[in-house]
Symmetry: D2
Subunit: 144 residues, 4 copies
């Protein structure tokens, strides 16, 4: 694995909708998986491995594991910065780590991680090796 | 159109989740379309014209128009009764009217309606006449 | 009512998430109310009457009526332009009309409208006249 | 911790909506947190520690950590059984483990866990000891 300094990462801002917060004024914990996904997609668009980049090559990349630790309550009326970092691995998997910050005071709101695998878009069969285009991608970024 | 007394209808209970209410304690207005859909599906299961009944015969029934009037705020911590009524029509369309009641005091929370059309599930081409199985269904219920 | 040319309006882009589309590849019709809301909020931020602008002055502006006509199926993998236009009215209400366009080919995907009222944020009591700050707002834009 | 045999648990059925599945026909991974919550609430209603039971005593029980492992793709057109099991702990926390089964073939679809803490509903201050009523609850079930 890379040192954190070397990890490819991207940050994106997400606006918190009023109705994403519950009667206590706190964002429902399930929404964070969507924020993670928005962060992952922003990363994918920057580096060329978005969901659609895989899709157009015949691959789906379903999430097979996800984790989130909530550090402080997130309230409505503001926005967040989602940071998605690619974690390099020898396995045929896509690993990401996430940090969510309050856009205003830059405090850490949540951390998390996800694991995705490569499956054939038609058969949903698991690929035990990296798709060729992803291998090329890794070489380009000196990750393979 | 039938008199309201003769309309086919079905009622189903839906539990309001805590997080479907916003910081004011009020359910977000967009959730009501899901409640309508739950009511429509309960109707479909009772009468044999659920989404999957159409799907298995090669049809999708996309919503092409929807309307909702909100009569009083819906709060968390309870449940609602969704009543879906089929509105008969000569056109190749599925019309439904909805009423949402507070399960506790039976007060009227919202009313609404939707229009669906029949399209081929593969080509998404519009059908200008009723699918045969839907025509049979209408005859069975003396609607054709 | 203003002529359409004179209406205050704002356009905002919304990215369609892969998982907002269903197994037929079509965006679920309920999501459009969220797109409308995103458009209304973009309008509110531009012109100073966002949800939070009302909230900070003690008002909620719940939607009491909404309508949507779906003109063509919206597919995943792209984005849309939501146009929200303020419709002037003498009544103590907020009226908006919406148009959703495919961002790529500019085709019209959906149209709709909503009605909001002014209620006290604590008592949820209906205000039968415009809040003072909204009246000022209307004068500023020559709508009163 | 209890042996698994002794754990308090409850099972509830959840219908998968057509639009909860994506263009590949697979349920979006984020929905599982809602299924977990539905399972947790079914448990809470059976055993008297639902979200509202805490709420009415002045406590919120926010999720501070959640984990989910996805074992096989979940498709539309069916329903699932969500099993929520209470995991006893000496700490002032609510721990749950979850299993999601396909309602048809009883195969395991996903497993997961969550951690909740007790906070004052008004100040959102963390309680470092169990609320009295929860302590009584634990004694009733021979967990304290």
């Amino acid at each position: 694995m890379d040192s954190e300094m070397d990890m490819l990462k991207e940050r994106t801002e997400v606006i918190i909708r009023f109705n994403e917060a519950d009667p206590l004024g706190i964002v429902w914990h399930g929404h964070y998986l969507r924020y993670f996904e928005d962060g992952r997609e922003a990363f994918g668009k920057k580096y060329g491995i978005s969901y659609m980049d895989f899709y157009h090559r015949g691959f789906a990349v379903p999430v097979v594991s996800v984790h989130c630790d909530y550090k402080k309550p997130l309230r409505f009326g503001g926005s967040i910065i989602v940071e998605a970092s690619h974690v390099n691995t020898a396995a045929a998997k896509l690993l990401f780590e996430y940090k969510i910050f309050d856009a205003k005071d830059k405090s850490l709101v949540a951390t998390g991680s996800s694991v995705q695998v490569f499956v054939d878009i038609k058969t949903f069969e698991l690929h035990l090796t990296n798709p060729a285009f992803f291998e090329t991608w890794k070489q380009k970024w000196k990750l393979a």
